[in-house]
């Protein structure tokens, strides 16, 4: 009791100081630092719903993230212009085989850094820094050369950037990521969420960018650690979790058997995913452990917090 009052007062000062520092950095356009400070402040008031700064911190985080995206986009545009001579992009002959197109159908485009590729084909190189756009009705599977065993799939309308060997930026669409390696770590960003994914064993997961700019993540194989804003969640095969603007959603279980039968990410390509046998096994294991099947499916997130659940009618 003797120590609690001064401590509370000190924490109060600290939160305000950190918040102000975050705002200051945001004004200086140092968004990474600003986000770091603001998240720290948010962490301190996380369980204090009545804190007078809470709403302001939440708003500042949202604004900073938005500004960060715009800034990243603008800087990349500037960066591209600086390549070669003035506005010239590097020639596609110089494009390295950081990723290789393993499977493709429909039409997918590669933009930025090197010359435009308007229709990616089997065994085309895709260098880091590229932005890939998958057009409606199309699909592409890329495998990494710098880390054998890591692949990414996308179908239908999707757009993503291969930022670095350990970072993907997902702008829209749905993806299946998998790695046959141990000790994986990758950063996945969307408009409103920065997610660190790690797994000590081979893993497979699906990620979808939600309408609000967050992400929907479904574990397919392995124990996957997801870290966002300092909070970590582990997902197992069949677990679904949303990365909401400020937090993870609750973890849910979805039926793997239905998923593997209805997923275009898994079924649209000529060759099945390398882990399809293991996925079937996981679906069966889940079947053994299932206590209830609900007449409802998980949908999108359009707002800040609530995700959609669709109830389907009885036959």
């Amino acid at each position: 009791m003797i120590f609690s009052f001064p401590c509370t007062l000190r924490c109060e000062e600290l939160v305000e100081d950190i918040f102000n520092r975050g705002i200051e950095l945001q004004n200086k356009r140092e968004f990474d630092g600003a986000l770091w400070e603001l998240n720290k402040a948010m962490g301190m008031v996380k369980n204090n719903y009545n804190h007078h700064l809470r709403a302001k911190i939440e708003e500042a985080i949202r604004v900073t993230k938005g500004k960060m995206v715009v800034s990243k986009y603008a800087s990349r545009k500037r960066g591209n212009r600086l390549l070669g001579d003035g506005d010239e992009l590097d020639t596609i002959e110089n494009e390295p085989f950081d990723f290789v197109v393993d499977q493709v159908f429909g039409k997918s485009l590669a933009r930025k850094v090197w010359g435009n590729r308007d229709e990616l084909k089997y065994e085309d190189p895709v260098g880091l820094g590229r932005t890939i756009t998958v057009l409606p009705g199309g699909g592409i599977e890329l495998s990494a050369n710098f880390s054998s065993g890591f692949s990414i799939r996308s179908v239908q309308a999707a757009s993503f950037s291969l930022v670095s060997e350990t970072e993907l930026s997902l702008h829209s669409g749905s993806y299946c990521l998998y790695s046959t390696n141990s000790d994986n770590a990758i950063k996945i960003t969307s408009v409103l969420a920065d997610l660190e994914v790690s797994s000590k064993q081979p893993f497979a997961m699906m990620v979808g960018v939600t309408t609000n700019g967050g992400m929907k993540v479904i574990g397919l194989l392995g124990r996957i650690q997801l870290t966002m804003d300092g909070e970590t969640n582990e997902i197992l095969p069949g677990n679904l979790i949303f990365c909401l603007p400020n937090d993870f959603s609750r973890k849910m279980d979805v039926e793997l058997n239905t998923l593997r039968l209805t997923s275009k990410l898994l079924n649209s390509f000529k060759e099945p995913v390398i882990f399809h046998k293991k996925l079937n096994q996981q679906a069966l294991l889940q079947g053994f452990r299932t206590q209830n099947r609900f007449r409802s499916t998980v949908g999108d997130v359009r707002g800040n917090q609530n995700f959609e659940v669709t109830v389907f009618p009885e036959e």
């Binding site: 699906m206 929907k216 609750r250 998923l259 997923s263 099947r293 659940v309 389907f312 009618p313």
Partner: protein
């Protein structure tokens, strides 16, 4: 005294009303605290009218499930069945026809987890204990004559089903069966240990129906009464022994305690049709060949042919009603054993609970 009691009641009622009111106020008071996560009952009532046409998600349809956390999966079930039999004595030329039986059973199952082996195989071992009581001729159509067939049966079994790719499965099992009498003094009739191996294939048809084909084999190690123990009269047994020895046989070697030791081969074909989400129909054909290996039964071979159909209706997750009709024929190469045919029909009501 009455006044005090009335006063007490008045205070009590007033207190209850006040506390009720305060509860209502508490429930109605809006909370300004934002929810840290979505409500636990988010798919309960409010979603029943939230049906919308879903856009196609490239990730696939994400149907919500409730999955058990624990590796162990205990469950109990109880059932009662009432059956008609056209041949209660199971003999070739029955003197008694149209009998009935009443069975009561209690089962405890314990799933011991599910384990992935390699990329494609799953092992799901399970333990099971069954206590069963059979009342023969419960309506006493034949007086008390049939009560000798009344018995208790206890079964303990352990199974190791391996779920293989392409709808195949291999099941290793062991069961321990103890039938005993419960009328008068409880006497154990025999013990038997039966290790078994079964291999099955499921064919899923396009209309959702399935056909299961199973082939299996097992060996029964039995332990029952010898002839001497059955007769339980030294003088009479000596007489029988002398008569048998004159005919060149011996009660000790012909009627050992493991007289029922046998190898069983079985084949079965089951068609499963779901008529609705709660009603299913299963016609079955099966064949069993039992080759006895000890004593007087050596070289005896029994064959049982069976054709039947069962239907079940699930009323609730915990309540099932099923009915069956079955016709079976038993053939044997042993002149001392009866061949017979039997028609059985009955209903079973079962309740179960999974923890």
């Amino acid at each position: 005294m009455i006044l005090h009691a009335r006063l007490f009641l008045l205070i009590l009622v007033a207190h209850l009303l006040m506390s009720d009111k305060s509860m209502v106020i508490f429930a109605e008071s809006p909370s300004n605290e934002p929810l840290p996560f979505l409500n636990a009952d988010f798919f309960a009532d409010s979603l029943s009218d939230a049906y919308t046409v879903e856009e196609e998600d490239p990730m696939g349809s994400q149907r919500l499930l409730q999955v058990r956390d624990s590796a162990l999966s205990p469950s109990v079930s109880a059932s009662t069945s009432y059956n008609y039999t056209s041949n209660p004595d199971k003999v070739e030329n029955p003197t008694r026809r149209d009998g009935t039986t009443l069975n009561l059973s209690l089962t405890f199952n314990l799933g011991l987890g599910e384990y992935g082996l390699g990329d494609e195989v799953i092992l799901a071992p399970a333990l099971s204990f069954v206590q069963m009581r059979t009342f023969t001729d419960p309506l006493h159509d034949f007086g008390n004559e049939m009560t000798v067939y009344d018995l208790d049966t206890q079964i303990a079994s352990l199974s190791f089903p391996f779920v293989l790719p392409n709808e195949f499965s291999l099941i290793l099992s062991h069961s321990y069966v103890v039938p005993s009498t419960f009328r008068g003094r409880k006497e154990i009739i025999s013990y038997s240990n039966t290790p078994g191996l079964a291999f099955s294939k499921n064919f899923i048809l396009q209309n959702g129906d399935s056909i299961n084909f199973t082939v299996g084999t097992s060996y029964t190690f039995s332990e029952g009464d010898t002839l001497e123990q059955q007769i339980n009269d030294p003088v009479y047994f000596s007489f029988i022994e002398a008569v048998m020895q004159q005919n060149g046989s011996s009660p000790i070697s012909d009627y050992p305690s493991n007289l029922q030791d046998s190898v069983t081969m079985s084949l079965s074909l089951t068609y499963s049709k779901a008529l609705s989400e709660t009603i299913s129909l299963s016609p079955t054909l099966s064949y069993q060949s039992i080759s006895f290996t000890e004593g007087a039964n050596k070289s005896r071979e029994d064959e049982i042919y069976n054709v039947g159909i069962s239907a079940s209706k699930i009323f609730a997750e915990w309540l099932t009603l099923s009915g069956l009709v079955n016709y079976s024929v038993k053939k044997t190469n042993d002149i001392n054993t009866s061949e017979f045919d039997d028609f059985i029909g009955g209903i079973t009501l079962g309740v179960n609970h999974s923890f």
